[in-house]
């Protein structure tokens, strides 16, 4: 589900279906970049590469604006450096469409973000010939650090109160535009407050919590909708305009970007190039790591033993597993060149970041969703076989991976017979 290539295909089809009569804006509500393994104020090189391709992909395939969230700040620090900024913008013009009204750099080494962008669309329906000025403004909540705690300083940026920022920026934007879209990376309650406090907002598009809220909510003039995680379902907000130019209605749809939507070939080329460069860098890193310390976990340090050890006693169960999709989970990533992508591998291996799988080069014995991923680390059990090991709470244990964003159609009653053992 999802992905840039299907998203581009759908939007092209949407435009052509209405003979390009309908202006279409594309926006992102936040968390565009990964902050995976951000430490000591640095992102690993391969993570930088992933993010660079997002800037290129979103720029090449027309996105009008992207809201900056706290998650984006580690990479944003690279993009907004004054040193070399003009050259970066020349190469990736999309940088200038990254917006936030309440995030500011802490030092003068970085450029300020624009609080908003204004796009002019030519209406052919409602009021044919009217040029509608659409303001797109961004807000983010601070970085949560606990149930009632948050950091307002992160990765060299200051995250001001979004509600105070809205009070400052929205009256100014209202003077310049006919329609305001607020992009808000915050929970639903905060989004509702933002819309309630600010009658200038026409549409509020939120993110940070998964939603299947097909019917938008309404506060003041604003229609509130929420994005699906990872854009596996593309949000489509249709705006209907009366003859006097005012907004009559807004209707929300979520469009499943599944295999019925073909990949756009040009966008797919970009996606493939991104995977290829990322995998090449990861291969270089992993090969070097393996040369320094081949199979570092085979000396007994890992709490996991791997499926070959399990199969020594549990032959029947192993026969079922070998034929299952769990037994080939890594191959599904390799087909798409994603076998080194930490965002993916956790659900395709055993013990990722828990002393099991590290990479295909250093710990290939822990690839695929093996016995111990569900039943727990088995080193003690292998040393002292007996009852008491292996209880698994189903389906609770399954949904750590088979959950809404990854597998919205998960049904334990249907899936379990496929791996029953």
């Amino acid at each position: 589900m999802g992905g840039l290539a299907r998203r581009v295909s759908y939007i092209k089809a949407f435009k052509q279906r209405s003979n390009t009569e309908v202006p279409t804006l594309s926006v992102d509500a936040g968390n565009l970049f990964t902050d995976d393994r951000f430490s000591a104020n640095q992102l690993p090189a391969e993570v930088m590469t992933k993010n660079k391709w997002v800037v290129k992909g979103y720029g090449d395939f027309h996105h009008d604006a992207a809201n900056v969230s706290y998650v984006d700040l580690p990479y944003l620090g690279e993009l907004l450096k004054k040193d070399g900024f003009d050259k970066r913008v020349e190469e990736y013009p999309f940088i200038e469409r990254l917006i936030s009204a309440n995030i500011h750099p802490m030092t003068d080494q970085h450029r300020e973000l624009a609080p908003y962008v204004i796009r002019e669309v030519n209406l052919k329906r409602g009021v044919p010939g009217k040029k509608l000025r659409v303001g797109i403004v961004g807000f983010s909540e601070p970085k949560p650090t606990g149930p009632n705690a948050a950091e307002t300083v992160y990765a060299g940026f200051r995250i001001d109160d979004p509600f105070e920022a809205a009070k400052k920026v929205l009256p100014e934007l209202k003077q310049k535009t006919d329609f305001i879209i607020a992009l808000a990376y915050m929970d639903m309650g905060s989004a509702q407050r933002l819309a309630s406090d600010n009658p200038e907002i026409d549409s509020l598009i939120g993110a940070r919590q998964t939603s299947n809220m097909e019917e938008p909510q309404h506060f003041n003039r604003a229609t509130i909708t929420y994005s699906y995680n990872q854009t596996k379902y593309l949000g489509e907000l249709r705006v209907y305009v009366r003859g006097d130019g005012t907004t009559e209605n807004q209707i929300n749809r979520y469009v499943a970007l599944d295999s019925d939507i073909p990949d756009d070939p040009a966008a797919q080329e970009v996606v493939t190039a991104a995977h290829t460069e990322f995998t090449k860098e990861q291969t270089t890193n992993a090969t070097a790591a393996a040369a320094r310390n081949p199979n570092p976990l085979l000396g007994g340090d890992s709490p996991y033993v791997g499926v070959e050890t399990c199969a020594g006693c549990h032959e029947k169960e192993n026969d079922v597993w070998v034929k299952s999709r769990h037994g080939h989970a890594m191959a599904t990533l390799e087909k798409k060149n994603q076998q080194f992508d930490n965002e993916c591998v956790g659900c395709h291996v055993v013990g990722f970041q828990k002393g099991g799988f590290q990479s295909l080069y250093t710990t290939p014995q822990f690839a695929n969703v093996q016995c111990e991923e569900c039943h727990g680390p088995g080193r003690d059990h292998a040393a002292n076989p007996g009852k008491g090991y292996g209880f698994m709470s189903t389906p609770v244990g399954c949904v750590k991976c088979h959950k809404e964003p990854n597998d919205p159609n998960f049904d334990f009653a249907v899936y379990w017979p496929k791996i029953k053992h």
Partner: protein
């Protein structure tokens, strides 16, 4: 030769304009690679019921241009 260079230059200029200013352009790659009348595509697009403009939105791609597996 001169004409060919001139035509190529105009094409590059136009392409650049559409990328930066036209909100209806998909970065200059507007051709469809599939049949718009495919029943599955038509079903997914829904009815054109007279909306004046549309906002396509998403979030949380977290560095990935494609989802896993």
């Amino acid at each position: 030769m001169v004409i060919a260079v001139f035509v190529a230059a105009i094409a590059v200029i136009n392409h650049g304009c559409s990328r930066s200013n036209d909100p209806d352009s998909e970065g200059g790659h507007d051709s469809l690679s599939f049949d718009l009348n495919d029943p599955k595509i038509k079903e997914r697009l829904g009815e054109d019921d007279g909306y004046a403009f549309a906002i396509m939105y998403g979030a949380d791609i977290h560095g990935s241009l494609e989802t896993c597996g």
